[in-house]
């Protein structure tokens, strides 16, 4: 099977989503955006697309799952990260999750105790990992098995202690 670049995988994803919207009889603008070196996003924008998001994003999750599976058919196995967003839902949700994560990280920093988050999808966990990566003194790890895999935020070993008592673990 030919190697497919991220852009080619993104284009396969875009073609699939365009075809689906056509069969649904829905009018939308579908664009492809390279998020970074390993991530492409297919964005669906237009009026009346709420049904494609669904309750708590359930329909969008289904669309994401099918798009990834179709791309994997073309690549013959693995795929790069292909995200699908509808009407900016994923972007808004990621921002809210980032803000929540920053709050929890601040609490972990000030209390010095770790915090476990609720189980969440791999895509959401990536948002949390990325947000914590930008904060000094807090690290993340994932525990548990899918679909109940969750993230734990904990003070990093070299974190400055809030009370200045160094490595003293009481």
């Amino acid at each position: 099977m030919t190697e497919m670049s991220l852009e080619e995988q993104g284009q396969a994803a875009q073609t699939f989503v365009e075809g689906l919207l056509r069969e649904m009889g829905m009018d939308a603008t579908i664009s492809l955006r390279m998020v970074d070196d390993t991530t492409a996003e297919v964005a669906v924008d237009g009026e009346g697309l709420g049904v494609l998001v669904g309750p708590r994003g359930a329909t969008l999750s289904a669309l994401q799952e099918l798009t990834r599976t179709v791309v994997q058919k073309h690549t013959g196995g693995h795929s790069e990260r292909i995200l699908v967003d509808v009407a900016g839902y994923r972007a808004r949700r990621a921002e809210a999750l980032q803000r929540f994560t920053q709050q929890v990280a601040a609490e972990v920093l000030s209390s010095g105790t770790e915090r476990a988050l609720e189980p969440m999808s791999a895509a959401d966990r990536k948002v949390v990992h990325d947000a914590v990566n930008e904060i000094d003194g807090v690290v993340t790890r994932s525990e548990g098995e899918e679909p109940r895999r969750y993230i734990v935020l904990s003070p990093s070993a070299d974190a400055p202690q809030a009370d200045g008592s160094g490595a003293d673990e009481s």
Partner: protein
């Protein structure tokens, strides 16, 4: 690029624009309407052997029951790990059906 890329796009073209998707190539109304064309599109896009995809539709009142047959080698991808792909197909077919006011039920048949 692999030639398989064209599989998903093979419904594109003149005569198949938005809005006429509840008719088949002969202009007859397709049983199951939007739900059926979406189900056909999804399963054919996922299959390595799209021409082996067979969809039976059974209308009983407000619910259309679909039975999907695919090539044996395509069943795994169609179902997915822990049935996630099958569930995703059902979710999108339900959305498609709701556009016609139809409830849907999708079964994958292991022949």
């Amino acid at each position: 690029m692999t030639d398989a890329l064209d599989d998903a796009g093979n419904r594109a073209g003149p005569g198949n624009e938005v809005g006429d998707d509840v008719e088949d190539d002969l202009g007859n109304r397709v049983e199951g309407g939007t739900a059926r064309v979406v189900l056909s599109y999804l399963t054919r896009s996922l299959a390595n052997e799209p021409d082996a995809v067979v969809i039976e539709a059974d209308d009983s009142g407000r619910t259309t029951r679909f039975r999907i047959h695919v090539a044996p080698g395509d069943m795994g991808r169609m179902i997915g790990r822990r049935g996630r792909v099958a569930q995703a197909i059902r979710t999108l077919v339900r959305v498609a059906g709701s556009r016609d006011g139809v409830e849907t039920n999708v079964d994958f048949v292991d022949d």
